[in-house]
Amino acid sequence: MKTTEEILTLAREIAGAWDWTTEVTQPEPNRLDVLLRNPADLVAIVTALRVKRLGYLAAITGLDLGAGELEALYHFCAGEVVITLRVRLNGRETAVASLSELIPSAEPFERELREMYGVNIIGLPSPDYLYLPDDWPAGVYPMRQDFDPQVLSRKT
C-alpha cells in the first residue's frame, strides 16, 4: 500500500510529464485535479496511470458548463486520494475516446455520459441506450442545461 503522499507525488509526476499538457491543481488535501488541455491525451494518460497501478476508475461525471461547453470528469481513486482527469469539450461536436477497452468497467459510465449529455464516445461497443427508453427522441439529452421536458410530450 502506498501512502497518500506517495500517491499524490506519483500522480503529479504522471500529470506533469512531457507527453501532454495539463493544468494540475489540488483543491483539497486528498484531491488532485488534472485538466487535460487536449482531450486526445486522455487514453495515453489513463494508460500511464494504469501502468503505475495508480487507483481504479470510480466514476465518470458529466458537467454542462453552459454556453455549449461540456466537461467529463474521470475520477480515479487510490486509498483516500481522488485523482480527477477533466476533459473539456468545446462545442457540441467534440468527441472523446472510449476507455472501455482499457478499463471494461468504464462502459456503463460512458454509456450514461453519452445518453445524458450527448458526448460522442468513440469506440464504445454497444450502440443501445442503457437507461433511456427506446422511443426517446434523438438529439435530446436530459442532463444538459437547455433540456426542455416539453419535447417529451410533443408528438412527432
Binding site: 486528498n30 466514476a59 461525471t61 468497467s105 462502459e107 459510465f109 442503457l130 437507461y131 433540456f147
Partner: protein
C-alpha cells in the same frame, strides 16, 4: 455491457418486470440449450431523474431527495451527501453526531445484509432460510424504528449533524437485539457452509477470480468475496470510522458461497462495531450551525454502502442550490459482473448469480 462468446441460438428475455428480484431490470440471455452464451442488460425502468431534480432544489431539500434514491440504504446516501456538503461549507459535524451517523450506518448494514440473505436464499430455493432471516431482520427494523421513528428513510442526517439522539433505554434495547441477532447469524453461517442442497446451488457457482474482480471493477462485499481487500471505511474513513475501525472481511474463493460467508461475517463485525460505538459514544452537541448558501467549489464524498463504495460528486456555485450532484452507486459497478459471469452457466443459476451481487435497481437508475 454485453458478452457474446458464440453465435446466438436462442434468446431468452428476463424482465423488465421483476427479474428474480422485486425491482425492474431487463436482461437478454442468449442460450445454447440450458447454457448461457451471452447476456445484455437494460436499466432505467426506475429512473426518476433525481440528479436533474437536485439542480432545482436547495441544499436542505436535497437531503430528503437523495435519501430516497434507495429504500434499503437510504442512510448511506444521506450520509454521503451531508458529509460532502459539510466539506464544501468547511463545517465539521460534532463527534457525537458523527458517531450516531456511524451507528445508523451499521444498523442499516445489518438490515440490508439480512434482507439480502433472505432474497438470495429464496433464489436458491431455500425458502425456510428466507422466512427465518426476514423474521430476524424485524429485530433490527424495530430498533431502527425505535431510534429514528422510521423503518426506512430514517431521516437521521441534517446538514451539520443528526437529529436523533441515543438514549440509555434505546441503547439497552439495541444490545439485547444484537445478542439475539449474533446468535442467529452464527447459525446461518453454519447453515450456508454445511447444508448439502444449498451448497449445490452456491459452491463453485459464479466464480470470480480476484483478477476478474479488479478488471470488472466490482465493489463492496462482492469484491471482498473474491479477495479484493477494499473497504472505504478503512481506506478513507468518514464520519466516526477513524475512531471505530472495522475489520475487512475477505474470502479468496470468489464463488456464491463466499459471497454468503463474507456478508454473514460482516454482520458479526457490524454487531461488534455497534456495541463499541454505544459503549464509547462521545458526549456533546448533535448539530453545528450550517450556512444556507454553500461556498462555491467541488468535492467528492465516498462512503461504504452495504453494497459497496458509494461515490458522490458535488459542485456548488455559492448559492443555496447545487450546480450538480452526481451519485455513482455500487450496483452499477457490480452489474457488469452479472452479464459476464452468467456466460457458461446454467440458465437456472442466473437468478442466484444476479442476487449474489445484491443488486439495487433503484440505486443504479436513480
Amino acid at each position: 455491457m454485453q458478452t457474446d462468446t458464440q453465435r446466438e441460438r436462442f434468446t431468452i428475455p428476463i424482465g423488465p418486470q421483476h427479474p428474480a428480484l422485486k425491482e425492474p431490470g431487463h436482461f437478454r440471455f442468449s442460450v445454447d440449450g440450458e447454457i448461457v452464451t451471452g447476456a445484455t442488460v437494460r436499466l432505467g425502468y426506475a429512473h426518476r431523474g433525481l440528479e436533474k431534480l437536485a439542480e432545482k432544489q436547495n441544499w436542505v431539500q436535497n437531503i430528503y431527495l437523495f435519501e430516497r434514491v434507495c429504500g434499503i440504504c437510504s442512510h448511506t446516501h444521506a450520509t454521503a451527501y451531508c458529509l460532502g456538503v459539510e466539506r464544501l461549507a468547511g463545517v465539521i459535524a460534532p463527534p457525537r453526531a458523527q458517531a450516531i451517523r456511524t451507528l445508523v450506518c451499521e444498523l442499516e448494514r445489518i438490515h440490508s445484509h439480512l434482507l439480502w440473505l433472505g432474497v438470495s436464499a429464496h433464489e436458491a430455493g431455500f425458502d425456510t432460510l428466507f422466512m427465518y432471516s426476514w423474521r430476524d431482520r424485524e429485530t433490527v427494523m424495530d430498533l431502527l424504528e425505535a431510534l429514528t421513528g422510521n423503518r426506512v428513510n430514517y431521516s437521521v442526517n441534517v446538514l451539520g449533524g443528526v437529529k436523533v439522539d441515543v438514549t440509555e433505554e434505546i441503547a439497552q434495547a439495541i444490545y439485547k437485539g444484537l445478542d439475539f441477532l449474533e446468535e442467529r447469524t452464527h447459525h446461518y453461517l453454519q447453515v450456508v457452509s454445511s447444508d448439502a442442497s444449498f451448497l449445490q446451488r452456491a459452491r463453485g457457482v459464479g466464480v470470480m477470480t480476484r483478477q476478474q474482480a479488479e478488471v470488472m471493477g466490482v465493489v463492496g462485499p462482492t469484491a471482498r468475496a473474491s479477495g479484493v481487500t477494499r473497504d472505504i471505511r478503512i481506506e478513507a474513513p468518514y464520519a466516526a470510522y477513524a475512531d471505530f475501525p472495522p475489520q475487512v472481511i475477505v474470502d479468496e474463493r470468489g464463488d456464491l458461497e463466499a459471497r454468503f460467508v463474507v456478508r454473514l461475517k460482516e454482520l458479526l463485525e457490524s454487531y461488534r462495531l455497534v456495541r463499541e460505538i454505544l459503549a464509547r459514544l462521545p458526549e456533546g452537541e448533535l448539530t453545528v450551525r450550517m450556512p444556507r448558501r454553500i461556498k462555491s467549489g467541488e468535492t467528492v464524498s465516498r462512503v461504504e454502502a452495504p453494497r459497496g463504495e458509494l461515490f458522490y460528486f458535488l459542485k456548488s456555485n455559492g448559492t443555496d442550490t447545487p450546480v450538480r450532484v452526481h451519485a455513482r452507486t455500487p450496483t452499477i459497478c457490480n452489474m457488469t459482473s452479472v452479464v459476464r459471469l452468467a456466460v457458461g452457466h446454467q440458465l437456472a443459476d442466473v437468478p442466484l448469480i444476479l442476487a449474489g451481487i445484491d443488486p439495487c435497481f433503484s440505486c443504479n437508475d436513480r
